[in-house]
């Protein structure tokens, strides 16, 4: 029985029924990793021993007749941007190549506390900056649908791992689309929750006011299960909200008839690939069949969202990444004196994209430019959020393609940072407003997955999960990558 290609919900049932053990599942997933990892390179660190030990602990509990939670004994992959005590956490950067944290991120801790079995840490764009995972300081990750193509990014390792069955589910982080875009490009479900719903404590910060942790899963049901386990107030994160999470799995079963979704006309004016556009239009038709009304709407300032994002995110990043200086941890390139050491360490430790964004952000915050760039960008942020709020007065949610393209070829956009930035054009505005968004598979274009994005209002996770589930059931997308 192959286990690696099953869902959390299926495996949980089998565990409880004692049809399989967690160790069997874990071994099956590890076996799968061995088979495909050479081609995919989704992981930066594997924690095989710890995984098997965790699996046996859960098996012992089951054997003792203890009740287990829905995630107990299920293998998970964690994006290497979350701090894991005793397990190397690199953020795919040379500057943290040998960094072993002394504490564990709250989100990971919650899962481990629920009996999750961590398989390893996944590859990503260095410090989560990128849309293709090519900016990893170590190696790119390949898309399991076509290993000549990128898996998207920045959480490309997590997306590829789930798509290829190298993990049953995974955690990623999303600052401007870094969960939703790779989920779309790898044909899996990925969600960015409302900002503040999941603790950021232990998530190595890229842009603090935009970053959120979220799940990659094979289907919407699993997404609801993992989300439920992740949410909750954390006193260690001042931006973590006190919010009583609803029962997301129950929310899936609600009738979607009568729901209203808006399609921002500004989005469809952008350069959406014909194949993607076609799948999206079919998705609208499918919603109509489900009794969901889809109408055009407008987000008047959304054209400015990308600009604002590429000021705000680098500005915060320039400050967040100042701590990587070779004093307390990480790489150190010894120079003549302190300043020389800083300069050499950071020059050697960071890749080009990280340097580019640090410089961009430094510039945007520097004397004489703050108001024109950062100040102005924060105001644009207000307007973008207001546009969404306005739309949510009329609509339950907003839908769009997750990404304007399918997975592109490795190397295709490396030389042109701006072209790469455009691949997050539909996901970025959502982060600026802090809203939840989910990407759910919506068919193939030329054999490559297309993602549908559903955006909800603040705390609208139940709404978008419900709609995504209804869509998933109606579409019946069952294709798996060839790998």
């Amino acid at each position: 029985m192959t286990l690696y290609n099953q869902t959390i919900a299926e495996l949980h049932k089998k565990l409880v029924a004692r049809e399989v053990s967690s160790e069997e599942i874990t071994r099956d997933v590890l076996e799968r990793v061995k088979d495909v990892e050479q081609e995919l390179k989704a992981y930066l660190t594997l924690t095989e021993e710890a995984a098997l030990a965790a699996a046996r602990t859960v098996d012992a509990k089951i054997a003792a007749g203890e009740k287990i939670g829905p995630l107990a004994g299920i293998p998970v992959a964690v994006k290497d941007v979350m701090s894991t005590k005793g397990v190397r956490t690199t953020c795919a950067s040379k500057i943290l190549e040998n960094y072993v944290p002394v504490y564990t991120a709250t989100a990971v801790k919650k899962l481990l506390g629920d009996g999750a079995v961590m398989i390893g840490k996944t590859n990503m764009d260095e410090f989560a900056m990128g849309s293709s995972t090519e900016n990893s300081g170590f190696n790119p990750t390949m898309n399991p649908w076509d290993i000549e193509r990128v898996p998207g990014g920045s959480s490309g390792g997590s997306a590829a791992a789930v798509a290829a069955g190298e993990a049953i589910y995974a955690l990623g982080s999303d600052t401007g689309g870094s969960i939703r875009q790779p989920a779309a490009l790898c044909g899996v479900v990925g969600m960015k929750p409302t900002y503040g719903l999941v603790s950021r404590y232990g998530l190595v910060a890229f842009a603090s006011s935009l970053d959120q942790i979220g799940p990659f899963t094979k289907d919407v049901t699993d997404c609801a299960i993992v989300l439920k386990a992740l949410v909750g107030h954390d006193p260690a994160d001042s931006t973590s909200l006190e919010y009583e999470a609803e029962e997301y799995v129950e929310a899936l079963q609600r009738d979607v008839k009568g729901m209203r979704f808006g399609v921002p006309k500004e989005f469809m004016e952008e350069g959406v690939e014909p194949g993607v556009k076609q799948r999206f239009e079919e998705a609208i038709e499918l919603f109509a069949k489900l009794g969901v009304e889809v109408d055009e709407t407008t987000l008047p300032h959304v054209d400015y969202a990308l600009s604002a994002y590429y000021i705000i995110a680098p500005a915060e990043a320039s400050s967040n990444l100042a701590r990587f200086d070779g004093v307390r941890y990480g790489l150190r390139v010894e120079g003549e004196d302190m300043i020389d050491t800083y300069m050499k360490t950071r020059a050697a430790g960071f890749g080009d994209e990280v340097k580019r964004r640090i410089m961009l952000g430094t510039y945007a915050l520097s004397a004489g430019y703050y108001e024109a760039y950062y100040g102005q960008a924060q105001k644009v942020r207000t307007l973008v959020a207001q546009d969404f709020e306005e739309a949510f007065k009329k609509f339950d949610g907003i839908i769009s393609p997750t990404s304007p393209t399918v997975a592109f070829k490795i190397g295709e956009k490396v030389a042109d940072p701006l072209a790469m930035y455009l691949s997050d054009i539909f996901t970025i505005p959502v982060n600026l407003g802090g809203f939840p968004g989910i990407s759910v598979p919506c068919g193939l274009s030329d054999g490559l997955p297309v993602g549908l994005q559903i955006i909800g209002p603040t705390f609208g996770e139940g709404i978008i999960l419900n709609a995504a589930y209804a869509f998933e059931q109606a579409l019946g997308f069952k294709e798996r990558p060839s790998l």
């Binding site: 979350m82 701090s83 956490t89 953020c91 943290l96 960094y99 944290p101 002394v102 504490y103 991120a105 950021r200 404590y201 232990g202 998530l203 190595v204 910060a205 842009a207 603090s208 006011s209 006193p235 260690a236 994160d237 001042s238 931006t239 500005a315 915060e316 320039s318 400050s319 100042a322 701590r323 990587f324 200086d325 004093v327 307390r328 941890y329 302190m338 300043i339 800083y342 430094t362 915050l365 520097s366 004397a367 703050y370 950062y374």
Partner: protein, 483 residues
């Protein structure tokens, strides 16, 4: 031409809290290096700050005591600069929205006979940095081979108080700083010790021709580690600036270092390093909207402040302004005074013995009143013994040194040394008669109208009684016998 100086102060005060400003590490002083630290205050990747409410309360308290307006909306910003004592290479501080602003302090210039008002621009809160220990080069930063960083103090709440440039002479700056210390002591929010570094002074100073409104170019003086060096450093710097201006030189805006041993200030920055702190709101922390009711509650619990205490000392103990000012200059001395008086000693006499004798011993030994062996009980007993005629003032002065050295109570010293005053009239009369008999020349002189002769005869009586004879009685008896 006549010049005047324009002086403003920036005072940093470490608050007394159990845990740090943004994490729960302990704040114990003098522990082994890097043992009062956690992932947050070490700036480990992924960690987040959470505001210590007590520090906010203490800052609000200080703001209120300095007659400031308390901000109903306040925020923390990041101040970005690289320095090895800063774990994140940014300091969480406040920028345009400090907790308190627009206050003033009245400073009594007792010796000079006037009162001056010093405006308080702002009071804000930030985190302290770590400590650098320089190895090689005699422990100074210049010439050191390398340095060791200890982050125990990193993250301790640090309050910054900025004054208006309202002071004109060094002694005003000193009097202000002392007054500020007394206020903070009375609030109990810091131990304000210059020695331990929990109170640090930075001074801005410029000169201008008298009558001119425009400010001159200012310099900043660092390393003023005592009130004495504040006064000396300023005096030196003012003189230097006036001489430079008169010689037609331009004053350079710069930071200067005060050297206590040479008594000079010198340029600290060898090269022009433009600081550009790139302040922006810390996205990891949410704004503070203080509840007016909470501020009201803090106001109602403010303790008696030095100004009120000074007025009360004048009213309740009938002290002249001069005495009241000196006694309330520190909380410790005011407490000392009140305790001595409460033990039944005469209020004015306690004051005299404290501000003359005790003060001069403390000065000579460079001790604070709560650091010496003399307690309120000592002073009270001493004053009571004088007032009861048990010892003379002269004897009291004689034994003060031993009391100060050993901490022995005056009654014990007097008994050990047999110094009890002779107030028995017949005993003194016998000695008086003997002295008259032995000094016929002086007796004759006195009778002939030479008043000084009486002094000589009194002295002889005192010599014979080793100073123990009651001087008033000796005077009275001599006059009687000689008339």
């Amino acid at each position: 031409m006549e010049y005047e100086a324009v002086i403003g102060l920036e005072i940093h005060v470490e608050l007394l809290t159990e845990s740090k400003m943004f994490c729960d590490s302990t704040t114990r002083f003098g522990e082994e290096p890097n043992t009062q630290v956690c992932p947050v205050c070490l700036g480990m990747p992924g960690t987040l700050p959470v505001i210590n409410k007590k520090a906010i309360e203490q800052t609000v308290k200080t703001g209120l005591a300095l007659n400031c307006d308390i901000a109903l909306f306040s925020q923390f910003h990041r101040k970005n600069y690289f320095y090895p004592d800063m774990p994140k290479n940014y300091q969480i501080s406040q920028y345009d929205l400090p907790l308190a602003s627009g206050g003033y302090v009245e400073v009594e210039m007792e010796e000079e006979g006037y009162t001056t008002t010093v405006g308080i621009t702002r009071v804000h809160l930030e985190e302290d940095t770590g400590k650098l220990v320089h190895v090689g080069g005699a422990g100074r930063i210049a010439g050191a081979e390398y340095s060791l960083v200890d982050f125990n103090r990193a993250g301790v709440p640090l309050m910054e108080i900025v004054t208006e440039p309202d002071m004109r002479i060094p002694v005003e700056a000193k009097a202000f700083a002392q007054k500020l210390r007394a206020i903070i002591q009375s609030l109990g929010v810091s131990d304000v010790s210059m020695e331990k570094g929990s109170m640090r002074l930075d001074v801005n100073c410029s000169v201008r021709p008298k009558g001119v409104e425009e400010f001159g170019v200012k310099t900043e003086i660092k390393n003023l580690n005592s009130f004495r060096s504040l006064e000396r450093g300023l005096a030196y710097e003012i003189k230097r600036q006036i001489e430079a201006v008169e010689a037609g030189e331009e004053i350079v805006q710069e930071t200067r270092h005060w050297d206590e041993t040479t008594g000079r200030t010198s340029t600290l920055r060898t090269k022009e390093y433009a600081h550009d702190y790139r302040y922006f709101p810390d996205p990891d922390l949410v704004p503070m909207e203080l509840d007016p009711a909470w501020i009201e509650e803090i106001t109602s619990t403010l303790p008696e402040l030095p100004d009120e205490r000074r007025r009360r000392f004048m009213e309740e103990y009938g002290l002249p302004s001069h005495d009241a000012t000196l006694l309330t200059a520190t909380k410790a001395s005011a407490d000392f005074y009140e305790e001595a008086v409460s033990l039944g000693a005469n209020a004015k006499n306690v004051s005299n013995w404290m501000i003359v004798e005790l003060a001069s011993y403390l000065n000579a030994e460079n001790l604070e009143i709560d650091e010496c062996a003399v307690t309120p009980r000592h002073i009270a007993e001493l004053v009571k013994m004088i007032d009861a005629g048990t010892i003379s003032g002269k004897i009291a002065k004689d034994i003060f040194g031993e009391m100060f050295e050993t901490g022995k109570l005056p009654s014990i010293i007097v008994e050990e040394r047999g110094l009890i005053q002779i107030s028995d009239e017949s005993e003194i009369a016998a000695i008086v008669e003997a002295v008259i008999e032995e000094n016929p020349k002086s007796v004759e002189d006195y009778r002939g109208g030479k008043q000084q002769a009486l002094g000589f005869l009194v002295g002889q009586v005192m010599r014979l009684t080793k100073g123990r004879a009651n001087p008033a009685l000796v005077n009275k008896l001599l006059k009687e016998k000689l008339s």
